[in-house]
Symmetry: C2
Subunit: 402 residues, 2 copies
């Protein structure tokens, strides 16, 4: 019997924070909020039975959430139920709101979403941001944020936080845009450029698009790969309902997966990356279409009319996507792949060759590929909903600020 | 202001189990075990200060763990410390043991690891299992398990569970080998073939290898990609200290990532998969080496002697690995890549071209690649330690069985 070299080293352990009564109270507040949000209107008794706490414990939690303006009494439950009628509880339509913002290459957008998930205010400004430095763009965005916040306040809401979607890589500090090639931004600290009056989260548009799909999509599984495109191709990996971010926050760079290792040079330093075959620039070139304002609409229009060059370009792009996705599916074994963003609008012409590649390269049944119904709305909605989710996940923090 | 179609749908929520006093006690037992395991010997007071509970609460937990044989008193702390001397606590060397087993293509192995992480018994039987049906292989393995358990028991240990590493895809039931091409096994339910007296977990060898690296490796980060090979090429993705398993349990199939999409046909149905360039069969063929008993040793020996064909074959394999890993690193953004299993023994000849490809194809600094010190020991140790970790993670379950 020979012992290998590592025998006497004890297994290392992460040491989480201790369970305290205070932590338990915070988690139970979150459970009440999530239950009423997902299944309300509900009576206190119904909440208690769903989360497995006593009626008395739930009442105390509910009172605190009503005082903070996160829940509201909707009046007596409708008759016909068994037992003494209770008052139905709903998530407040007048409480905190999530402010979502999006810096697109061709537009800026801001919206406010209430705790019930409804968009209560929304503005969009079209105009290219390509090559503009971060300062004036962020200043303009802040103007739109003020406008949306003021509209939301006039309806009795108050902003619980601001989340900004950007077309680039964001550091794990959730403030700094490390690289946004299509804006030509490098190491732009949006936290320093925006007023500090709202809690801020900055994230990649593909990440927010995937979260929107997870939270709002119809039947989205908890393990999926979300592929989207504005100008570049991005992806987001969702595992067990959580976004896989990567060590630096850069996970999901599907656009630079090598598809043909000896193919054309890419700005990333590689060769034959997916973007060289399925990126917007490559597709427009292959289709013989001049870059203009509404490029997705233009490509979709020409493909619908039967333009052979456009159809071939999109089919080839679908094939390249299928090759890159075969690798991703082999690595991650997701339940499905969802095409979002600009890709959703081009899906009819991308999907046949994409699915064909995936099926040809898979021994068993191929991973199903579906198309997002949110399409280009995903990143903005995902941003706003991320603030709403943060309130549901830890209502105690908001209650203290209310 | 136009509201998108999904506005009125509330965000969906998973409803976790409620926090109860009983759940809190179980988690706190785990915290005590992990703390003593990672930092012991420690006094009760030291444990209390490290996990943020009162001395009294910790004493109650410790008493329970001593009664169940999971902790032991090591006698008075060494003098020279401030304050009243306490009795030092250590993880028991006589309590439960994790039994790890490995079904290799060319061998069977079983070991017992105690709660301190020491291998206390180990047996290996060489001989090909290729083409043998599951029944006789599992019967032979069970004989080795009985032998190791009996040796462990003679040292005062008792088996807390059995974990089996196999070279194939394992279903999420952690019992069924769905496909092990190099054994020619399909849908083999090992749970039905092994006696039911020990709690059983079956997993892919690459997964157990990665877990061994996480738990026992020197400075292994909590986000990494572990690449290993016996006959096929497997990988395992560790994210924030947890294995990414995939929907069906099949995540980590790096061997079937397309490297050259028009390359040679692969048994998986694809073309130009990584295994066609870096798999054992492909490398032996390119090197002009006959498949024999100790193939890794043979290749390493020839490469050391300066055999040009072998060196070129390994360098080409490294290049293919580099291309496939570029895609994986772009998708996952891991902190590092670790080469384990048979690849560790061939690293001197694989690494230069592998690192070169990764660097050429990466804009910023390339993801660091290191070599496992556990090498081919990884899967067996990972299996045994997974049982030990399960005891540390939920000592209450074992305490009830003790």
């Amino acid at each position: 019997m020979t012992a290998p070299p590592h025998d006497d080293r004890p297994a290392r352990a992460g040491r989480p924070l201790p369970d305290t009564q205070q932590g338990m109270r915070r988690r139970n507040l979150a459970r009440v909020m999530h239950t009423v949000s997902a299944e309300g209107p509900l009576s206190r008794a119904a909440v208690a039975s769903r989360i497995g706490l006593t009626r008395a414990a739930v009442s105390t939690l509910v009172d605190e959430l009503i005082r903070s303006g996160l829940l509201e009494e909707l009046g007596p439950e409708r008759p016909g139920r068994v037992g003494r009628p209770g008052s139905a509880l709903g998530v407040s339509a007048q409480g905190p709101a999530g402010i979502g913002a999006e810096v697109g290459v061709d537009h800026l957008a801001v919206c406010a979403v209430d705790l019930r998930g409804r968009v209560r205010s929304r503005v969009v400004r079209y105009g290219s941001n390509r090559g503009r430095s971060p300062e004036p763009v962020v200043e303009q965005l802040d103007g739109l944020v003020r406008q949306v916040v003021s509209e939301a306040e006039s309806e009795g809401l108050w902003p619980a936080g601001l989340a900004v979607a950007v077309p680039g890589l964001v550091a794990r500090d959730a403030r700094t845009v490390v690289r946004a090639p299509n804006l030509d931004w490098h190491d732009a600290d949006l936290g320093a450029l925006l007023p500090a009056d709202l809690p801020l989260t900055v994230d990649n548009e593909a990440n927010f698009g995937a979260l929107a799909e997870l939270w709002l999509g119809d039947g989205t599984p908890r393990d999926f790969l979300h592929v989207s495109a504005e100008i570049g191709i991005g992806a987001a990996v969702v595992v067990d309902g959580r976004l896989l971010r990567g060590t630096r926050g850069f996970a999901g760079e599907l656009g630079h997966v090598p598809v043909r290792p000896d193919g054309p040079e890419c700005a990333c330093g590689g060769r034959g990356c997916l973007e060289q075959y399925a990126g917007e620039k490559a597709v427009l070139r292959a289709a013989g279409v001049e870059p203009g304002e509404d490029r997705v609409g233009l490509l979709a229009g020409r493909a619908t009319e039967g333009d052979e060059a456009v159809r071939r370009a999109l089919s080839d792009a679908g094939r390249a996507l299928g090759i890159a996705l075969t690798g991703a599916v082999n690595l991650l074994d997701p339940e499905s792949v969802v095409l979002g963003g600009a890709l959703a609008g081009l899906a009819p012409w991308l999907l046949p060759s994409l699915r064909d590649e995936l099926a040809r390269r898979t021994a068993g049944p191929a991973c199903p590929v579906s198309v997002s119904e949110l399409g280009p709305q995903g990143p903005l909605l995902g941003a706003a909903h991320s603030v709403v989710r943060a309130v549901l996940d830890d209502p105690a923090v908001v209650a203290e600020r209310a």
